[in-house]
């Protein structure tokens, strides 16, 4: 790691005003320090935000829940309110990383973790995300874990988070505080597709701090499922994951949310696919149609084309699991 200076503010405004062009916030450190050891990140200053008062989980006035950015992934997954009302979120978190990492990793940091593309991690090779304009070796290289949806000429990386797939399906809102004040960002507008600017993973401005994630009241606790497919049974990133949430009345679907992980630069949702389920019987034919709509326009590369069929089957299975009722 390169030398850097260190500060540990205790107030949010103090943290934001300390932020300069070569600063990084650090929370759990599990992604940032990893990247610093590989020289992918080279900050001159670390602003340790773990002293900020952002570690509580509270019910909101409209029946939702507000999760502080510093709540650890483990504490969030095992919080009674989350287990009971948002089991989809609890399951997605527990499908990610390892128990040790989940004890360290924060809610805010999880949203901002970078891609696990091998070329991005290797600072001796070109990569448009790491050094814009140098090229994308993944396109013609090792691309087994890469995107099948929403990729661009410049970058075919995927966002690796499990938690974010559930947050996308649950229509979470990200609370942000920055030099220009506070704002709220809908989850679907938080991460972005690579387009011509693969170096930008999300829509945060420089120096902006995530303070909280808010969940609306609807938690789909009765009918949800998180299905993660990967190369080993645990402690591996998703090849494909699906967060499926249904509201079912008398066997008929009243509303549906589906988000895909491991397939794109952001958790993937498709309004048409979700709308196609409404008013339909919660049965395989409807799930099949939704899967087809979600994967419309999917295209793979040399080593990852298998993910298209894998995703289709995963979507159908996750929807069927959700329809049967959330597993204990």
């Amino acid at each position: 790691m390169n030398p850097f200076s260190y500060a540990r503010p205790t107030r949010i405004d103090e943290a934001i005003s300390l932020f300069g062009p070569q600063s990084r916030y650090i929370a759990g450190g599990t992604n940032l320090l990893d990247l610093m050891k590989e020289n992918v990140e080279r900050p001159k200053q670390l602003i340790d935000i773990t002293g900020l008062p952002l570690d509580s989980i509270e019910e909101t006035a409209d029946g939702g829940v507000r999760i502080g950015a510093l709540v650890s992934n483990a504490d969030l997954a095992w919080h009674a309110l989350i287990e009971r009302r948002y089991p989809l979120l609890a399951k997605a978190i527990l499908a990610g990383a390892s128990p040790q990492l989940r004890n360290m990793a924060s809610t805010g940091g999880n949203l901002l973790q970078r891609t696990r593309c091998y070329y991005f991690y290797d600072s001796t090779v070109p990569c448009n995300k790491r050094e814009p304009g140098t090229g994308c070796p993944a396109r013609d290289g090792l691309n087994r874990m890469h995107a099948i949806l929403g990729h661009s000429e410049q970058c075919i990386a995927v966002h690796p988070s499990d938690m974010c797939v559930a947050l996308a399906a649950l229509d979470a809102v990200v609370h942000v505080s920055g030099p220009q004040g506070e704002r709220r960002v809908d989850f679907r507008d938080f991460h972005r597709l690579p387009g011509d600017e693969p170096e930008r993973d999300n829509t945060l401005a420089e120096g902006e701090l995530i303070t909280a994630i808010e969940l609306p009241a609807a938690g789909y606790a009765e009918h949800s499922a998180y299905l993660k497919l990967r190369d080993r049974a645990s402690y591996a990133f998703a090849l494909v994951s699906v967060a499926a949430a249904l509201d079912i009345d008398g066997g008929v679907i009243r509303s549906a949310r589906i988000a895909l992980g491991g397939v794109a630069h952001k958790p993937w949702r498709d309004d048409a696919a979700e709308a196609s389920l409404i008013g339909e019987a919660a049965e395989p034919p409807a799930f099949d149609r939704a899967a087809q709509l979600l994967l419309q326009g999917a295209s793979g590369f040399e080593h990852n084309a298998f993910k298209i069929e894998l995703a289709r089957r995963a979507i159908k299975r996750a929807l069927a699991e959700a329809a049967r009722g959330t597993a204990a």
Binding site: G29, D55, L101, M104, S234
Partner: protein, 189 residues
């Protein structure tokens, strides 16, 4: 944390105080010193192993305020005031920790490199109170790899030592705060 002195580039070396295996210790660390390097390089506590240095193997697992973490992916400077327990701190005058004894009696290692991390992780898992079955243990110990493949005996050792370990460490209450200081029963390794 206080600034103790500065090096040639004007970057501060800081002084932190931690309770390490029950003893208060004041240490001078650079901002970039990981908790793992502090233990191994500065304090010569080499029981905690460096397998991958990237959070991928669990060999560096220690108990920070009673919770298991990877010492390779955190900075020492971030833990001023914390309580840290490593494999060296588990035994007492009465002998080995029950989890250590179980690893010996069940022959739960071959080369032993992953063992300190496995043992600390298993104790942390018991304190979390979420493992009820053998499958739960397998899943919840998946953050600790064993290149020798001693997994069946590791599982057997943990199953055997769970009740006694639970009596010793207590169990975290649900919804404990992120830093492990509030909302938890007192947890002793």
């Amino acid at each position: 944390m206080t600034e103790a002195s500065a090096n040639a580039d004007g970057i501060a070396i800081c002084s932190i105080t931690i309770k390490l295996n029950g003893e208060p210790r004041t240490l001078e660390v650079y901002p970039w010193t990981t908790l793992l390097d502090m233990l191994r390089e500065q304090l010569d506590l080499t029981g905690t192993k460096k397998g991958c240095d990237h959070g991928q193997c669990g060999a560096c697992t220690v108990l920070l305020n009673g919770k298991r973490i990877n010492a390779c992916l955190t900075l020492a400077i971030m833990h001023d005031g914390a309580e840290l327990t490593t494999i060296e701190g588990l035994a007492s005058e009465d002998g080995l920790h029950p989890m250590q004894t179980a690893f010996v009696t069940h022959d739960a290692f071959q080369c032993g490199y992953c063992t300190p991390g496995q043992i600390c992780s298993a104790i942390g898992m018991v304190a979390e109170g979420r493992a009820q079955s053998a499958d739960d243990i397998r899943e919840q110990m998946s953050g600790n790899l064993c290149r020798c493949g001693a997994y069946p005996n590791i599982l057997a050792a943990i199953e055997a030592a769970m009740p006694e370990t639970r009596n010793r460490v207590g169990v975290f209450e649900a919804g404990a705060s992120a830093d492990g200081h509030d909302g938890v029963r007192e947890v002793k390794p």
